[in-house]
């Protein structure tokens, strides 16, 4: 199947807004996990996160619009704008019927919803903002970005827990490969640093409670791992056919060549410990990309820092890559800024693109003593590797597996 070009990156994250600031912090291995300051979270078992405090500084959105939308739509609007700028696309010159938007989100816009639900019970129905209905639901960012740019082509919001945004990119690739659209804004956004969303994440039971050492709390694949840390943000990319990108002289940042997906289907919460279905998704992505396992030069790990998830991920990789796995650099850079849930795959994808561009694999923080030895973990600090082809893995609750193969142009 046809490869799809990525020609613009927009990133809004705790590690920085815009790809330059983001990459500078990622390659330096700086942690942005801190105690939550947006509200008093001190009584929650886990009250640390990757939080964004300076979004307004980078925002082009009017106050009039901001009062109608949740933070996750705001993040998506800022990420979309920076992605379009990076791609040197003036959307006014595009045929709106041939532009689409494919975004992933897991939980919706709770900062807005919580405030309005509180007002419903305190003040009655007249106390609730009429924007509530259009602000909170997971497809709200898709709607807001579409309205902002006048996008009218086939579009979709994927809600598939933490695998949402990588799945959205996979769907977008399939749609573009069929020549249904000229370009797509693809990626995802998540804003879980709110009282109710944090409560739900705590109830899930997989968050690290190492509140006294925020920077050291998220430690995937480490013997001392004790769960993941949430983060907020958005990652949105401009996607288009290679032919169109070349024709308009665009700077092609990477090529999505393969998409694979599967479901474990054994438990409501956990994944299957054997990793077989994840291995099937990886093989599906490699097959579609027509890439042999030995050609992969970097693997971006999902890395939930929960034993059954981490261990089954490595098992799946061993099933696909065999003994050669020990030669491939593998990393989970989200340990620096938190797991962005439905947006995590999009951020991993952006890091994979920057990894190939700069020839530098970003580190997994806090990986001091791996549970499983003999693998080429890039830990503590970034390491130089010339990478031509990468594999990005994103997994969701209950064992939803999503995998992309991305190549250097």
């Amino acid at each position: 199947m046809e490869k799809i070009a990525i020609t613009g990156i927009g990133v809004v994250s705790p590690s920085g807004i815009g790809k330059r600031q983001f990459w500078a912090n990622i390659k330096a291995g700086r942690s942005f996990i801190k105690k939550i300051t947006r509200f008093d979270a001190s009584l929650y078992p886990s009250h640390i996160a990757g939080q964004i405090d300076d979004l307004d500084k980078y925002s082009h959105i009017s106050e009039r619009l901001l009062k109608k939308i949740d933070a996750f739509s705001h993040m998506a609007l800022v990420a979309s704008e920076t992605a379009l700028q990076d791609a040197a696309i003036d959307i006014k010159n595009e045929d709106p019927n041939l532009v689409g938007i494919f975004l992933g989100n897991a939980i919706g816009g709770w900062l807005y919803a919580e405030t309005e639900l509180r007002d419903l019970y305190l003040e009655g129905r007249e106390g609730v903002s009429p924007y509530m209905a259009s602000a909170w639901f997971p497809a709200a960012p898709q709607g807001q970005v579409s309205i902002y740019y006048g996008i009218k082509g086939f579009s979709k919001t994927v809600v598939s827990d933490r695998a949402s945004s990588l799945m959205a990119l996979g769907y977008a690739k399939k749609v573009l490969a069929k020549n249904k659209l000229n370009m797509i804004l693809g990626g995802g956004m998540e804003a879980p640093v709110t009282p109710y969303a944090l409560l739900c994440c705590n109830t899930y039971g997989a968050l690290s409670k190492d509140n006294q050492n925020p920077a050291e709390a998220y430690r995937p694949f480490d013997k001392q791992r004790n769960g993941f840390v949430i983060g907020e943000g958005a990652g949105i990319m401009v996607m288009e056919s290679v032919e169109r990108a070349k024709k308009r002289g665009a700077n092609i940042l990477g090529l999505i060549s393969g998409y694979g997906y599967s479901c474990d289907g054994i438990d409501r919460i956990n994944c299957s410990p054997d990793g077989k279905e994840l291995a099937r998704a990886i093989n599906m992505a490699l097959c579609e990309a027509r890439v042999n396992p030995e050609e992969i030069g970097y693997i971006s790990l999902d890395g939930l820092a929960v034993s059954v998830w981490d261990d089954s991920e490595i098992k799946a990789l061993k099933q696909v890559f065999g003994d050669n796995l020990k030669n491939i650099p593998i990393s989970c850079p989200k340990s620096m800024f938190g797991n962005l849930l439905g947006a995590s795959g999009a951020l991993d994808m952006i890091i994979a693109l920057l990894t190939m561009e700069h020839g530098l694999v970003a580190p997994t923080l806090n990986l001091e003593t791996p549970v499983l030895n003999g693998l080429n973990y890039v830990a503590k600090q970034a390491k130089e590797y010339k990478v031509a082809k990468s594999l990005v893995i994103s997994r969701g609750r209950g064992g939803i597996n999503s995998v992309l193969v991305v190549e250097k142009p």
């Binding site: 009017s62 106050e63 009039r64 009062k67 109608k68 007249e126 903002s129 009429p130 924007y131 259009s134």
Partner: protein, 78 residues
């Protein structure tokens, strides 16, 4: 503050638009591109602010500031 000035102030604060943008004799849809949800919010805010009951049928996107202020004033006079 007269009814017209107060109407402008309420709508300006609510919709985050400058008072100058709210023209006396141009419809809200034409001067600030108000949408239907903003109209629902505007009716509720004006009701709270003036202590009168307004119907969404009386105040629409096609109303001008003059129309709205006259409507409110007539209810205040009753």
């Amino acid at each position: 503050m007269d009814t017209k000035a107060k109407t402008k102030e309420v709508l300006s604060n609510l919709l985050k638009v400058k008072i100058d943008e709210l023209k006396d004799d141009i419809s809200l849809i034409n001067c600030i591109g108000v949408d239907s949800t903003e109209m629902v919010e505007s009716v509720i805010a004006l009701e709270k602010s003036f202590g009168v009951k307004l119907s969404p049928k009386e105040i629409t996107k096609n109303s001008t500031i003059n129309d709205i202020a006259e409507n409110i004033q007539s209810k205040l006079n009753k």
